[in-house]
């Protein structure tokens, strides 16, 4: 693979890792985002809200998986760009309305509300479509294999980063605590 192809693979893998973390976290705990969205859009408080959050999660996971496969890459890139635009818009809305409820965005377990992080990552995700339209993989099998492995690595790194506080608070401290002696 050439340099351009590697760069495209890395960019798509990074986008897929972001979407995968975001989608899986929403699927497991939809209430975190529901609360944050209700704060900025009060009409989102309906009984169907958790289902809608889980549908969004499913779309994100599907987009992430499709982005890593050469034949479905372009359609997924379009979806990732639309999702990125949505994330950025909600980040901006949260900032404008002074959101303070943690949104659990991108799988984070800290207390960050909707804001500039969503805008920045949303804009980065939105560049996936132009990037893919400008560059195509010459060897689809190499692209898929490379993208899958890079995305797996990226997913794990991002997961470790977004949950660093929980890990430090509930795992690391307790592991370091000396056992009582009798």
């Amino acid at each position: 693979m050439g340099l351009n192809e590697w760069l495209l693979t890395c960019a798509n893998a990074a986008a897929a890792a972001l979407l995968l973390n975001s989608g899986l976290a929403k699927a497991v705990a939809p209430d975190v985002l529901r609360r944050a969205l209700t704060e900025v859009v009060p009409s989102f408080a309906g009984a169907n809200a958790p289902v809608m959050v889980r549908v969004l999660a499913a779309v994100e996971i599907a987009a992430a998986a499709a982005l890593l496969l050469a034949p479905t890459r372009m359609a997924a890139a379009l979806l990732a760009t639309l999702l990125g635009a949505g994330f950025a818009a909600f980040g901006l809305l949260g900032k404008l309305r002074g959101s303070s409820t943690p949104c659990g965005c991108f799988g984070a377990s800290d207390r960050q509300p909707l804001g500039w992080t969503n805008v920045a990552l949303g804009v980065l995700l939105a560049t996936v479509l132009p990037l893919n339209a400008a560059n195509g993989p010459a060897t689809p099998t190499d692209y898929t294999a490379g993208a899958l492995m890079l995305a797996a690595t990226g997913t794990l790194l991002l997961c470790g980063y977004t949950h660093r506080r929980v890990v430090r608070r509930h795992l690391v401290v307790r592991l370091r605590r000396p056992k009582p002696t009798h």
């Binding site: 995968l20 973390n21 899986l24 976290a25 699927a27 497991v28 705990a29 209430d31 975190v32 609360r35 209700t38 704060e39 009060p42 408080a45 309906g46 890593l68 303070s100 409820t101 659990g104 799988g107 377990s109 207390r111 099998t141 898929t144 294999a145 490379g146 993208a147 899958l148 492995m149 995305a151 797996a152 690595t153 997913t155 794990l156 997961c159 949950h163 929980v166 608070r169 509930h170």
Partner: protein, 177 residues
Amino acid sequence: MLVVFGFALLVMAAAIVVLFAMFGELASRVPDPASAHRRDTRVEPLEDAQIGRAVDVWPTGMPDSGDATLLVLSTSCESCRDVATQLSSDPGHSDWEGVGLVISTAGRQTGESFIADFDLQGFPHFVDEGGDWSREELGVQQSPTAVVVRSGLLASAYVFNDVSSLRSNLQQQKEVV
């Protein structure tokens, strides 16, 4: 072969993300001993509280206005979420006689979700849409706030973060009276 290996790796990574998401969700429901230790235990009188003011409109389902302690919590305030967690996680608070929760919120559904999310259904509560009632009847625009009402009159009001400290403070006030 590499594609299959990559796919297996991705599935394992996804499983770990799910595990951490579940762990994060569980951790958010367990009070952090470190933060509980750091919690501000001060109970300060509410500035500009209109002591002696008559509370004309009393919501149904709330404890008798003859002797009631109202905890005003907002759905969009982080300290209020901490107070709600303290109320639901400590079984000792369930026997708090005369306490009522006023959930100040933008919409009824948000207030009811707050009650359900923090498992506060056991406490007498009133969803105060737009915070109108607490502002007009109690003169309270801050949260978390505790308002003591005796014989239909506002007897005292406090700003607090720690429920146990508030209770012992109120108990001391009662003993003095």
